[in-house]
Amino acid sequence: MNRMPAWADAVLVPLISILLAAILSALVILAIGENPVAAFSLMVEGALMRSTGWGYTLYYATNFTFTGLAVAVAFHARMFNIGGEGQAMIGGLGVALVALYIPWPHWTLALAGATLAGGLFGAAWAFIPAWLQATRGSHIVITTIMFNFIAAALLNYVLVNLMRPVGAMEPASATFPPATHLPTFQDMFAFGGTLFRGSPANVTFFLAVLACIAVWLLIWRTRLGYEIRAFGHSDTAARYAGISTVRITVLAMLISGALAGLMGLNTTMGEAERLVLNATEGAGFIGIAVALMGRSHPVGVFLAALLFGFLYQGGAELALWTDIPRELITVIQALVILFTGALDNMVRMPLEAMFGALRARRGPKPKPTSPRD
């Protein structure tokens, strides 16, 4: 097999994919009679040139980091967790319950409590599919996606019938008490000025960065991480080595669900400060694209999350100031997902062939050594 150097695998493939997606998007924008250069510069302007734009970009990136990490951890155990959406919803429910019904004296304590609750609720939602997969062989893709719908129905029931303040029209909980207010970037960095004014990025962003480090430590520096990777590479070999497949399946999914659940911190406690019905709005699915693009590595996930944050915020600017319909903005976002996720091999295979040819020209391969030497 032709192997590429690591830098090409990690940097070159995603870059070329994004470039292809950008070219195709430009053609689509041209086709409806708008100027792609103006559209792109408007996206950059709106997402990266103003502090408020960064505030939104980082807010979205925080969501995608959590869900991307969730999918990545499951990927390492060769499992496809499509249930990030539902796990994030239920995680948000946990966050809301803790923030509403426990009188916290200070936001730091509230954040710690909500982190615990969000993680626990998310993990609990992932537990049943994981257990079914491990002991009954029910395919995790099917069960997790079905649990998304159950989560949506459950959340709707809880919001409409239990948590909604009487007389309120919206299916949303009451606003959290002020003591649970998480510092936004404006609170932290503006010092009374207008830096990051009104943007939703908050202290949870740093929690997402910490989560990246924690996942890296877990996967590559702990025994559990080793077991997860071993199980992912070959479950029969892992079983032969004495690794319990039930235990690894359940643990990997619990960690995955907990990470997805933590997304609720950002949307529910950081941004809305109350539990709204569709707080996750597809971030669980974007997480799949983020994990694919980031090669299931925390650094890659973080960078991919930033890219998608930019696409979301840039897309909002396009919707605000141009007549490009929002369906087309979704098309542009989808093209990036398509090229970085689904069509990965289209870029990868020619590149691999190219690197193989380069290597072959540089010199003949060393003969494989026999086991006896």
């Binding site: 719908f149 029209m169 949303a172």
Partner: protein, 334 residues
């Protein structure tokens, strides 16, 4: 370098054109999107009518995520748009957060409620959907031969229960023994745009004997109306006048004049009077649609009965219970 300059130039041009739009009104739709043939489209039609009649311009946005609600409000307010009109109750809490930062901008929330004393620059426009639903409920009961009528709601939220509850009361007012079958399409926002499921629900209700079905379900309702026409029973449309969709099968439509509300807010411009407006039967904010498409379906007797009830509701002689006032309904259990 010239590429960069050209790029910067076009950005500047865009920024300028945004700045030049001083004191134009802006319209922010709910997640359902601009062309939902129902609620948001009614708002768009109102704005469009204003633009055509006055030659003015307005900017609108279809948001894609929850976080964009606040973003769109702030960006429009910062760029001098006035008033900023929003459709859907989901904006009320966010407007309450944003409005104090832009005291010179008038915000309008249609279907939402913002405390007028705490936020003097916000106009809340509410509709008495239960009153309009009561009238179409009466028509349904009078048109029904089987004594069983149906209701198909969109997403199961209090607002739709308010429709259902008013409808059920109207039915019971005419025929106390009538059976009302009530179904909600779903529990996620996708329920607003699922005509296939609307059609399935309508078929299920027909098999239970329903011969008039009221659809208060946005785009999903189109499936209900279609199935009713195919199966030869009657249906009732919602928000906009949908009688024309299947002439002879759509008994009437429960009108909710979102278009009028938007038109009037934009006409008032910066001089908009803020506070709380409740548009009911008396204000002609809600009502039932009567045109050449359903003239044959609604006889003089029916019309007289409904008009009498309408007068009594306006006088306060009949009070229609509002589900959202205490989260309960005397005529229907959910």
């Amino acid at each position: 370098m010239s590429f960069v300059r050209k790029t910067l130039g076009s950005v500047a041009a865009l920024a300028l054109s945004a700045g030049a739009a001083l004191a134009d009104p802006a319209l922010i739709y709910d997640l359902g999107g601009k062309f939902d043939k129902s609620f948001n489209e009614a708002a768009f039609n109102g704005a469009q009518r204003w633009a055509e009649e006055t030659g003015g311009e307005f900017r609108d946005i279809e948001i894609q995520s929850e976080a964009q609600r606040e973003q769109a409000l702030r960006r429009f307010a910062e760029n001098g748009f006035n008033p900023v009109v929003t459709t859907g109750f989901s904006y009320s809490t966010i407007i309450a957060n944003v409005a104090p930062d832009y005291p010179d901008t008038k915000f309008v929330t249609i279907d939402g409620y913002v405390d007028p004393e705490a936020h003097p620059n916000v106009l809340s426009i509410l509709f008495s959907e239960h009153e309009g639903s009561f009238l179409v409920g009466m028509l349904a009961a009078m048109a029904s031969e089987s004594g069983t009528v149906g209701f198909v709601g969109g997403m199961d939220i209090p607002l739709i229960r308010k429709f259902a509850c008013g409808y059920a009361q109207g039915v019971k007012a005419v025929n106390a023994d009538a059976t009302i079958i009530s179904n909600m399409t779903g529990t996620t926002p996708a329920a607003w745009n699922d005509p296939v499921k609307g059609s399935e629900l309508a078929k299920a209700q027909i098999s239970q004997g329903a011969d008039v079905i009221f659809a208060a379900a946005g785009g999903t309702g189109l499936g209900v109306l279609q199935t009713a026409a195919d199966e030869g029973i009657l249906s009732i449309g919602v928000d906009s006048n949908q009688n024309y969709l299947h002439p002879g099968s759509v008994l009437t439509s429960m009108l909710k004049r979102v278009d009028v509300a938007v038109y009037e807010a934009m006409s008032a411009g910066e001089e908009l009077e803020t506070g709380v407006q409740v548009l009911g039967l008396a204000e002609e904010g809600v009502g039932y649609a009567l045109d050449e498409n359903n003239a044959e379906l609604i006889g003089d007797e029916m019309q007289a009965a409904v008009n009498e009830a309408q007068a009594k509701i306006i006088d306060g002689e009949i009070t229609v219970h509002d589900y959202t006032s205490d989260d309960s309904c005397p005529a229907l259990t959910f």
